[in-house]
């Protein structure tokens, strides 16, 4: 039987040799694999821009775990990085059962595997979300002008750029002022490089919203600044959206966790999608050692 390949589905692999055949989904994707997926159907390259601990990994994990736990119209359609999602979700499931988080795995040698893949189906349309998992130190270095955006091709390539505001940081009176500074530094760096490029989209994502919502002082602090910060982001991109997310909130949190809204934004069609390939990730030789170290740890 001969059939046209379905959008977003890659034709089965054909290997003539007798070498061991790996199972799908064992590792994060490298740029070549991400490009292969993009060539097979509609895709969205997503980059979270936020410092270490701002909730990037939790957002990634929750996008997957929500599919397992909540029945909705958006359907899980597969993942080439299923095991990586499961590894992320595992620690959080254990914590919910009262176990201590598992100890971190030994760091691997740095490689280019940096992207999660989540295929979702909405109203018959299948879309591949390719989510870049970059260490937070990168964004601090970017904000501090230690590295250029050109050295992070995934940020230039992204269809969806999300600027993360760390709710836990807002709750800390000694650190909260840095939130606005970091956000404006990032906005300035993006603007200097004419990002986001036409066709890509921008969001201001407030993470750990549960920590803000349950503390009147933090809530008041944020409400006084939220409108202006959102307006500043819209200067960079007039259509920028603003999402509050409580991805790691306990089940008792009375509000919606916002992950559904974030997912809707990720799935929405950008103005123009040409699906160029994902470029290799090459640190410049003069990248600061702490960043290289952070990258090695994450990889």
């Amino acid at each position: 039987m001969t059939e046209e390949p379905q959008a977003g589905i890659i034709e089965p692999r054909v290997e003539a040799d007798d070498s061991p055949k790996p199972l799908l989904g064992s590792e994060l994707l490298n740029p070549a694999e991400a490009s292969q997926l993009l060539s097979g159907g509609p895709g969205r390259v997503v980059a979270w821009l936020g410092e270490r601990g701002s909730g990037k990994t939790t957002l990634t994990a929750r996008l997957y775990e929500r599919q397992r736990l909540v029945g909705e119209e958006v359907l899980f359609a597969g993942s080439w990085t299923l095991l990586a999602f499961e590894a992320l979700a595992y620690g959080r499931r254990g914590t919910a059962r009262g176990l201590q988080a598992p100890s971190e795995q030994s760091p691997r040698e740095a490689d280019e595997r940096q992207m999660y893949h989540l295929a979702l189906r909405e109203g018959g349309d299948r879309r591949n979300l390719l989510i870049a998992d970059l260490p937070g130190e990168v964004f601090r270095a970017l904000a501090d002008n230690q590295i250029a955006i050109t050295s992070i091709p995934i940020v230039r390539r992204a269809d969806k750029l999300a600027l993360l505001v760390d709710g836990a940081c807002l709750r800390d009176p000694l650190r909260r002022a840095s939130v606005s500074t970091r956000l404006h530094q990032l906005i300035e760096r993006l603007a200097a490089d004419a990002l986001p490029h036409p066709g890509s989209e921008l969001a201001l994502v407030v993470t750990k919203w549960d920590l803000i919502a349950e503390d009147p002082d933090t809530l008041a602090y944020w409400q006084e600044r939220e409108h202006q910060l959102a307006a500043d982001v819209r200067e960079l991109h007039p259509e920028a959206v603003h999402v509050r997310v409580a991805a790691g909130a306990p089940a008792s949190f009375p509000q919606d966790d916002g992950v559904g809204a974030l997912r809707s934004w990720l799935l929405a069609t950008p103005g123009a999608t040409t699906d160029p390939p994902v470029e290799r990730y090459d640190w410049p030789d003069d990248a600061p050692e702490p960043i290289r170290r952070a990258w090695r740890r994450r990889a």
Partner: protein, 279 residues
């Protein structure tokens, strides 16, 4: 017709084969009749004896090459049924080691349909994890202080720790990665007697209780046309004892199957559905 059995250990693959063989050989299935038994059926006879004694089956040995191979008549159609019963340990080892078993890979390329086995009671248990450990020292005794129990650390993650729904998705998408033809798939929810009454239809139960797999199947229905069946090959839980008329019933009469829409059907329904899917 070559159909595969996919399932990890103790998911009911062999139990269904034994109960199905019992029903066929004792002529309990109107739509199918044995014309000729081609292969050794000693393991099936042994299984029926065990069910007669109200004992569960022993796990298929890891290197076992057991299979159901026979010619069946369906109306005026002659069907050769070939169902190898690969051990669940082999599949588990493959998923954990992340490398295809060459025998299974060859079967996947040749199969005209498959049955995927999941245990209802295992899925129910995974969906209801135990509560966090309680505090102790709250008894009011003198000098007692409220001390939280030191939570044990979770073991480091490995593929073996994935829940059953994620492992099923892992298997199916790896399978589609290696096969270009659509694969009709009968989802067999075994230990169906453990689903609380009033039991929903197997289709609705999967949708409500095993969401990740259900969504994956729905999203990939063109390549994985599927139907969901609930099966109790033993007819009940032997460990807690059978009740009432079940004690006197023969094993093939105790066993029962619920079709996708919740109605009782014969144990051959998944096979008939796979045959119809192929034609």
């Amino acid at each position: 017709m070559r159909f595969m059995l996919l399932g990890e250990q103790a998911t009911g693959k062999s139990s269904l084969l034994v109960a199905l063989y019992g029903a066929l050989v004792n002529r309990r299935i109107e739509d199918l009749r044995i014309v000729r038994t081609i292969d050794d059926v000693e393991f099936l006879s042994r299984g029926l004896l065990a069910f007669g004694r109200q004992e569960s089956l022993r796990r298929t040995e890891i290197d076992s090459d057991a299979r159901l191979l026979m010619e069946l008549a369906r109306a005026d159609q002659l069907v050769t049924l070939d169902i190898p019963d690969r051990s669940g340990e082999l599949l588990k080892h493959m998923l954990d080691a992340r490398v295809w078993d060459s025998g299974l890979l060859a079967q996947i390329r040749l199969a005209e349909g498959a049955m995927l086995f999941l245990r209802a009671d295992q899925l129910i248990a995974e969906a209801s994890p135990p509560p966090p450990p309680a505090s102790f020292g709250e008894s009011g005794e003198p000098f007692a202080e409220t001390v939280a129990v030191q939570a044990p650390p979770a073991p480091p993650w490995s593929p073996a720790l994935m829940p059953a729904d994620a492992r099923a998705v892992d298997l199916l998408q790896s399978l589609l990665d290696r096969r270009s033809e659509p694969l009709p798939l009968a989802i067999i929810i075994s230990a169906w007697d453990s689903v609380s009454e009033p039991a929903p239809s197997p289709r609705d139960w999967l949708s409500e209780s095993v969401r990740l797999l259900d969504q994956y199947l729905e999203s990939n229905a063109e390549r994985l046309p599927h139907a969901v069946f609930g099966v109790s090959a033993q007819g009940g839980d032997f460990s807690s004892g059978l009740a009432g008329e079940l004690i006197r019933a023969d094993p093939w009469d105790r066993a029962y199957l619920v079709g996708p829409d919740g109605l009782r059907e014969t144990l051959a329904s998944p096979i008939l559905w796979l045959l119809d899917s192929k034609t």
